[in-house]
Symmetry: C2
């Protein structure tokens, strides 16, 4: 007897995992980074087998990790979490830093970063669990971490089907969307709709997106969009 | 270059891991339980090699896990987190439930529970990382999970040296202790001092515990005690 809702009680935070292999820089968003030993300092992270980042970590034997701050914009999470590094340069819209092992990471909106050498790779079905020794650990900023609970409850974020913690798509709908949509626009501003998953902006549709609308970038439905003014 | 403070940016929640081996029931507190795959539903948890619970998980190949609610009392956390199952019946002061695999768990102050069969055991130095398939997952209560950040910041909790996430003992001191100690007791009540780590009550000392005071149960110093009235 498995109640998928039980897994949502587990607390976690959002992190970016980045890697470099064959001249290509990859990255993805996870909520599965955990410290599993203090001596030596060891991290574990689970990555979906279908991710381009996963292939880069397997081939290079290394990854970098950053802990996202609560103020990390949804566009950053959308770029790294809902696109594929195979067809997107995820670093194009943010600053690319390089750690001591020549692995790229994103210092923007990050509280801390780690540089990790993989020591074990465990096949766990839909994902690989990578275990590795931390060779660099650095604080980048003070502040609150972006917990998965905050991401869902306050930012209205969603879980992609490839996540280790995808347990069905029936999270609570976005709060406040209807209310926002009902207010009048400021004079001289254009109404548009922003995908809260990937950050895509759809202009027009002052009366709301059509019921069958789908985001051309990530495929999210109308309920994932919030009204903005440009 | 390793800055241990960087690890504290990682978000996690407190869980109880319990096991039964050779007629003895064991349990400990962790903040390392993570879902690492969705298909099949898979959990990983890191346990210190010196824990009695770790030996029971290794020998039995099973564990139960509960996600603690934010209102879980410090006594429960102290009993399971700062004592050894080798010399304490940790279940004596709480209700003992039994899952479908005959593994005990504590349903009190828990949001969810899991019953897990271990499929991989990885040696990560100070700890073993256990990976296992979830055979039962059940919601037990609605509410907020006890995050590690909340445990430290609001409950004034501490990290035991055997934890995977022990990165030095220089967490912020308990907020409000001095202020509480300065207030006058209610008439007819006795002043006492409660260890915020293990729950031990030390009576007397109306002017505060001596500077060299140590908890006779868990060894915590004076700064870990809060004033209570009996």
């Amino acid at each position: 007897m498995i109640d998928r809702k039980a897994f949502r009680a587990l607390s976690s935070g959002l992190c970016l995992i980045t890697a470099r292999e064959g001249g290509r820089d990859c990255g993805c968003v996870v909520n599965t980074l955990v410290q599993v030993a203090s001596a030596p300092p060891t991290l574990a992270v689970s990555l979906n087998k279908d991710n381009a980042t996963t292939a880069a970590v397997r081939e290079s034997g290394r990854f970098a990790a950053t802990v996202l701050a609560q103020d990390a914009p949804m566009e950053l999470i959308g770029t790294f979490g809902f696109h594929s590094s195979a067809d997107t340069d995820k670093f194009a819209a943010c600053s690319r830093a390089i750690d001591g092992a020549e692995v790229p990471y994103v210092a923007d909106h990050a509280l801390a970063r780690f540089s990790v050498t993989v020591t074990e790779t465990i096949d766990v079905g839909s994902h690989y669990l990578f275990v590795g020794t931390v060779e660099e650990a650095e604080m980048l900023a003070e502040g609150d971490a972006l917990t998965y609970a905050y991401y869902h409850a306050v930012k209205g974020g969603k879980t992609p089907p490839k996540a280790a913690t995808y347990n069905g798509g029936d999270e609570a709908p976005l709060a406040g969307v209807t209310e926002t949509a009902a207010s009048a626009p400021d004079a001289g501003k254009r109404i548009a709709w922003r995908c809260t998953i990937c950050g895509y902006i759809e202009e027009g549709y002052p009366d709301g997106l059509p019921a069958d609308y789908m985001c051309p970038i990530c495929g999210a439905g109308r309920d994932f969009f919030e009204r903005v003014e440009l």
